[in-house]
């Protein structure tokens, strides 16, 4: 993975020193909260319902074991012994004291981490496919490009006060695991007819109160042109994005109101004009960054299906875990393992400091000391020998980290909701916990098959409910929490926005309602059909009838 050189190290240290001075001015009263707010937001510090929150960037979801151990230490020393992984591959600490945050940032800087641009109306942390570099279906590893974009966007002087926040996500595989179509810019590496690899550039995706899917603005962009092209899009957005209404300020609204054709001509014209003065990345720099992402020293191994089958037969739990949490690896004899942070009845994305240390140790013992964070709030060990999967599984079991539900109905995305968040209109964590308990049995979860439930505690949609196969949105009406159910959403290349199925449900009804939807699917599915397929084939009518006919 990427390692800082002296320039990167100096940069994060200077940023940390700058923030320390800003905090000092705030604590001395030289800055009011109103003046301090934009400064702390530029550095991932929110003021939530009960405390400050620090959001730490995990660029494209990649962590070293040393970094994960540092996050564990930070959770222990300055928080309450845990952290929360978010839908943007970041980690949040929920209980820091403002006066401690500069020390936390210094501590992060020591392990090449920071909180730069994890909030604010700027280019946010760049996310990527969590299986980058190891996926079987990969066209090209997107991580070097994500790192190049991370550096370019860090304190970009022109794009730090945009109309609204700006999220970029990137994938290099034939399957989109990074939800790129619901990002302001989605980048997909692909091969053209001549066999060259370049980017398909998509723009204008987003969730929030006006969910939209990104549209293609450039079908094929040579890789070397990515930074000037991004700069052109950002400049057009900075000039023409709406600033009169914060709810209409994202680039998706500009795309929608301007039309993709017109916007494309604006961007292409700006791109032509800026090429002359744009300082291209030296090719040596691209190579330097790519060299950090070469394959680790794999051994020459063969696939171990016979062994794994035998172990799975002897241990049902292992078999179930293998089926759900193991993904194919491009290197024979290896596997990619998802560590579910969705224990039955647990809080999605939460992990204790002790568990963080343990996972970091496992990544060293079984892998090459690397861990990934997924936008679905789980962790990944990318390089596990197949003949060591059973040992790893048993170690995970000992720490409550072996829930065999990756991609299944209890692998729920949930925002923090009203338990923490100042914007929330309803609680989302308790709903996730209740659903997880209702569908507890792994055998029946596997019978239900791949099904993504996503829960947001307000219209801002941090819990991605618009793209949940089953989406749940928590709202407040007359002092009471209500939950709106939508069906048929999906993140991926074949993305779709879920459709609200009917009147909302009260808290005590929502879990039953989800169960009714699932039962309806089980009754109607044809062989091999996952929930989304059945919904797409039949539409929402049978689900509506099942949910509301009796009422």
């Amino acid at each position: 993975m990427y390692q800082y050189d002296g320039f990167d190290q100096e940069f994060v240290r200077q940023r940390s020193a700058q923030f320390r001075d800003q905090v000092k001015r705030r604590l001395s009263g030289a800055l009011s909260e109103a003046e301090f707010k934009p400064l702390r937001l530029m550095n991932g510090v929110y003021l939530e319902l009960h405390a400050y929150l620090l959001r730490v960037a995990i660029p494209y979801g990649t962590l070293s074991s040393q970094q994960l151990k540092r996050l564990a230490m930070i959770g222990r020393k300055w928080d309450r012994g845990y952290g929360h992984f978010t839908t943007r591959q970041n980690i949040q600490f929920n209980w820091p004291k403002l006066e401690d945050i500069p020390d936390m940032l210094d501590s992060l800087a020591e392990v090449e981490m920071h909180a730069i641009q994890t909030s604010g109306a700027c280019i946010r942390n760049v996310t990527a496919d969590q299986f980058s570099g190891v996926a079987k279906d990969e066209i090209e590893d997107p991580r070097p490009w994500a790192e190049i974009i991370r550096q370019w966007s860090s304190l970009h002087p022109e794009f730090t006060f945009l109309p609204r926040k700006f999220k970029v996500s990137i994938t290099g595989s034939s399957e989109d695991r990074a939800a790129i179509k619901v990002h302001d810019i989605g980048l997909a590496l692909k091969k053209n007819d001549h066999g060259d690899i370049g980017f398909e550039v998509m723009v204008g995706g987003g969730q929030g109160r006006t969910p939209m899917l990104a549209q293609t603005i450039r079908d094929f962009l040579p890789k070397s042109e990515i930074l000037p092209y991004l700069e052109a899009i950002m400049r057009v957005y900075n000039q023409f994005g709406r600033r009169d209404n914060k709810y209409k300020a994202r680039i998706k609204i500009l795309v929608h109101e301007t039309g993709i054709e017109k916007l494309r001509s604006l961007v292409e014209a700006e791109y032509e004009a800026l090429r002359a003065s744009f300082i291209d990345l030296p090719q040596a720099e691209v190579s330097r960054i790519q060299n950090f992402f070469t394959a680790p020293p794999y051994q020459n191994l063969e696939d171990q299906e016979a062994l794994l089958n035998q172990q799975a037969q002897q241990n049902t739990g292992f078999g179930q875990w293998l089926q759900a949490n193991r993904t194919g690896h491009k290197q024979p004899g290896y596997a990619v393992v998802t560590i579910s942070l969705k224990p039955i009845g647990g809080i999605p994305g939460d992990i204790s400091s002790d568990q963080m240390d343990y996972v970091a140790d496992l990544s060293e013992r079984y892998g090459f000391g690397e861990i990934r964070v997924t936008h679905e709030q789980n962790l990944v060990l990318p390089d596990i020998r197949q003949d060591q999967l059973f040992d790893l599984y048993q170690d995970l079991v000992s720490q409550g980290l072996a829930t065999a539900n990756a991609g299944l109905i209890s692998d729920i995305i949930s925002c923090p909701g009203m338990d923490y968040c100042a914007l929330a209109t309803a609680r989302s964590i308790p709903i996730a916990q209740a659903l997880s308990r209702r569908f507890e049995d792994i055998t029946s979860q596997q019978n239900i098959g791949p099904l993504k439930i996503k829960i947001s505690g307000c219209i801002n949609a941090c819990g991605h409910h618009h793209v949940g196969h089953i989406g749940i949105l928590g709202l407040e009406r007359k002092g009471e929490e209500h939950y709106q159910l939508s069906l048929g959403g999906h993140a991926g290349f074949e993305a779709s926005i879920g459709k609200i199925v009917g009147p909302s449900f009260k808290e005590h009804q929502i879990v039953d309602a989800v169960e009714t939807v699932v039962q309806t699917y089980l009754d109607l599915r044809t062989e091999d059909e996952i929930f989304l397929d059945t919904y797409r084939r039949l539409g929402d009518t049978p689900f509506k009838e099942a949910l509301y006919a009796a009422a």
């Binding site: 100096e10 000039q239 300082i279 030296p282």
Partner: protein, 169 residues
Amino acid sequence: MQLLKKDQGLIEETWVHCTDLEPLPVSENIIVGYGRWLNEQETLLKRNGLLGLELPNDVSPADISDKLDHLSLILLDFPAFNDGRAYSQAQLLRNRYGFKGELRASGHVLRDQLAFMARCGIDCFELPLHAPAQEWSKAFSDFSNMYQGAADGFATIAQKRHLDQTGAE
């Protein structure tokens, strides 16, 4: 209000801000609004004294690019600290249209924005009356190196990394 020039510290105001209705002073250096610029361009270009223009942040620099030789100062507007359109205007004026005169930031200018503004080519800043200017000036040197190329023309971190190999400056 005080005026901070990036490399000089506090400076005295030598420009007269003319409203749209005032008669034009005979020979002083003046800054006029965009409306007056559009309506009285011929008169403005003929008079003695230097000319400055207040550019609203929704006007494209392309619209004045052929008249830049006549302008010695462009006042960029930051109606609120988080309205960042003028950063793009500054970059375009410097990088694309080669404007060499003074670019002055006006409006909601905060200490923690000064470095971003300077990188985009703004070289003069209107500070609130009681702002400690010397303290604020430190903001220019918060960072030794930056990742992006910008109107300030400084070498990027990537360029510096490969100085030896490429022989670039």
